[in-house]
């Protein structure tokens, strides 16, 4: 049954798939025909990654149940001996395989033509200073948008409306998470710990997509499709708490799950024969006699290039980030065992007050 539904979906969406394939072939031909136009080719590559793949995903997803709405084929399909969850999964797997096939074609082009991969290997997700060797963000966004649009497609008969709704909902949630990671709400994670911010962003995409998928499957399995309002309310009844749960899960991930291991390690000297280090997570001391690392001060916003240890005291600097444009440094001092930690310079401190006095003459 899964196979029959999977193949049926491929047959019905073959035109959309070949349309996507045609765009990729055109893109390849442009590459071959205009080898010297590097700027144009770069723009075309970005257009392909940021527009083509997400939009083909939206088109595939939003038309996921078009044939069932047409001519009342819901009745036909629901009266067959097949579980509704299987219907959902078979259709989704079929659409996902079409997107995967288009990506495989892109991958083949990427690996066969070195010039092409040079263009594609650039930062794609705005806001994150991450150099990706492969345009993974476009792939993630397209799978995310396919899932959201397909999940919403159970609600309405017109694919264009679903496409528009999915674009608003999918991109809206993506931008909301991205803004949170770049603001105080998200602890300025994108600025202070880009590696963890990227992981958190990925988690949010997966959890939100799962929330939509779960709400969609439950709607398909339990709702009365002959009553549109009732069906829509059922979807909202499941989707709203699940999306809230997904966002809460993302926040919990950011707070509870440690980021990737220390990428930067800065030695600030030694005191009493014990070395002191500053990493992205704070100040550490290695005790050779106890053979263990002691975490002296936790900070996600530490400036790990500035610090010193002397006379039984350690000094280090952190960043007080209010926004991207408003970042102030703070100087902290603590005893060498981590006790007595206090801020001695920073916003509102003696340094800033002196600067204000100078400014006012």
């Amino acid at each position: 049954m899964f196979g029959a539904l999977f193949i049926k979906e491929w047959k019905q969406k073959a035109l959309t798939f070949f349309f996507g394939l045609g765009i990729l072939v055109l893109f390849l031909l442009t590459h071959l025909a205009l080898p010297g136009k590097k700027d144009l080719l770069e723009w075309l590559t970005y257009a392909l990654l940021l527009l083509f793949f997400p939009f083909i995903a939206l088109i595939l997803g939003s038309s996921g149940f078009e044939s069932e709405f047409r001519n009342g084929a819901w009745t036909y399909l629901f009266s067959r001996p097949v579980n509704r969850a299987v219907i959902w999964l078979a259709k989704y797997a079929s659409l996902l395989s079409m997107l995967a096939a288009l990506w495989l074609v892109f991958l083949a082009m990427w690996s066969v033509f070195p010039r092409f991969s040079e263009l594609a290997g650039a930062r794609v997700l705005l806001g994150f200073s991450i150099e990706s060797g492969f345009p993974v963000w476009s792939l993630i966004q397209s799978v995310f948008l396919l899932t959201v649009s397909f999940s919403l497609a159970v609600l309405h008969e017109k694919p264009f409306n679903i496409l528009f709704l999915s674009l608003i909902t999918g991109l809206g949630l993506t931008v909301a998470v991205w803004l949170a990671l770049n603001s105080r709400v998200g602890g300025n994670l994108a600025l202070t710990a880009p590696g963890q911010a990227v992981a958190t962003f990925l988690v949010s995409q997966i959890l939100i997509a799962l929330a939509f998928a779960r709400a969609s499957i439950l709607t398909l399995m339990k709702s009365d499709f002959s009553q549109v309002l009732k069906k829509t309310l059922s979807f909202l009844q499941w989707a709203v708490p699940l999306v809230v749960l997904a966002l809460a899960g993302t926040a919990a991930w950011a707070v509870l799950v440690p980021g990737p291991g220390e990428r930067y390690l800065f030695s600030v000297g030694s005191s009493g024969g014990e070395p002191y280090y500053i990493t992205e997570r704070g100040v550490f001391k290695y005790s050779a006699t106890k053979s263990r690392v002691q975490w002296l001060a936790k900070s996600k916003q530490i400036n790990f290039f500035l610090g010193s240890v002397s006379g039984g005291k350690i000094a280090y600097t952190t960043l007080d980030i209010r926004s991207k444009a408003d970042v102030a440094e703070e100087l902290w001092v603590a005893n060498s065992d981590g006790t007595g930690r206090k801020r001695v310079l920073g916003r509102g401190g003696p340094g800033e007050r002196a600067a204000r006095r100078d400014a006012h003459g």
């Binding site: 029959a4 019905q12 084929a73 009745t75 036909y76 009266s79 097949v82 509704r84 339990k222 499709f225």
Partner: protein, 237 residues
């Protein structure tokens, strides 16, 4: 005869309109049931609930003694359903649609399917979207028969058929099915169609059954034809 299907206190509303209210029915295997009711009385709703197309608001359905939940699908392998309006994936060909259906039914009879396509003069290579309503109904019928159902629900399908096919359908096919032990629930508002084949008469009115009796017995008691019996029951209030 053993009880095949039992429906208990079934209710269904569409907005404020309550279509079925505490509907009870027992169906014995191997019999032909005729369900009469005026337009909008809930015949199609009942058929759709039985086929798991829409959920009931309350009540229970038992097939061979086992309660059917809305999410269940396995029981439908033994059910056939011919709706009033035939629904298909219209871009499929007749043969494509047959092959698609065959994957769902373990008792699918390919020989019978081919024979019925020939009998109804349906071109297996034709696309369904080119068919008239009557042709689609014939295809629907051929599909339902090929699945070899234990229980066949006919939701007023004959109104779109031409007279020879309707006769063929009623006289031959339904009798043939009934003779082979298939239980049939024939919902309609066209009493003349039903009179020729019905064994047990059901009349639906106001969301409930107002009559559930052997047709011969009712006919003997009332000395009326089916049309008069029907009118006498549905115009009581």
């Amino acid at each position: 005869m053993s009880e095949l299907l039992r429906i208990e206190r079934l209710s269904k509303s569409f907005g404020r309109h309550r279509v079925l209210r505490d509907f009870d029915l027992g169906i014995e295997s191997g019999r032909v049931y005729g369900l009469l009711g005026r337009n909008g009385e809930g015949k199609t709703t009942l058929a759709r609930i039985l086929m798991g197309v829409i959920p009931a608001d309350a009540g229970g359905i038992y097939y061979r003694g086992r309660k059917i939940a809305f999410r269940d699908s396995a029981y439908k392998r033994e059910f056939g359903y011919i709706p009033e309006d035939p629904f298909f994936y219209e871009e499929m060909t007749v043969q494509g649609s047959m092959d698609f259906n065959a994957r769902f039914y373990p008792r699918w009879d390919r020989k019978r399917a081919a024979a019925d396509l020939e009998r109804f003069a349906l071109d297996s290579k034709a696309r369904i979207r080119t068919f008239s309503r009557g042709m689609k109904l014939k295809l629907e019928l051929a599909m339902a028969l090929a699945a070899s159902p234990e229980f066949l629900i006919l939701d007023d399908p004959t109104s779109g058929l031409d007279v020879p096919t309707r006769r063929d359908f009623l006289r031959d096919i339904i009798r043939e099915l009934a003779a082979s032990g298939t239980t049939i629930l024939f919902a309609t508002h066209l009493v003349h169609e039903l009179e020729r084949i019905v064994e047990r008469l059901l009349i639906l009115h106001g969301g409930r059954l107002v009559l559930d009796e052997d047709f011969d017995k009712v006919k003997a008691q009332t000395r009326m034809n089916l049309e008069d019996i029907f009118v006498s029951f549905v115009s009581k209030d």
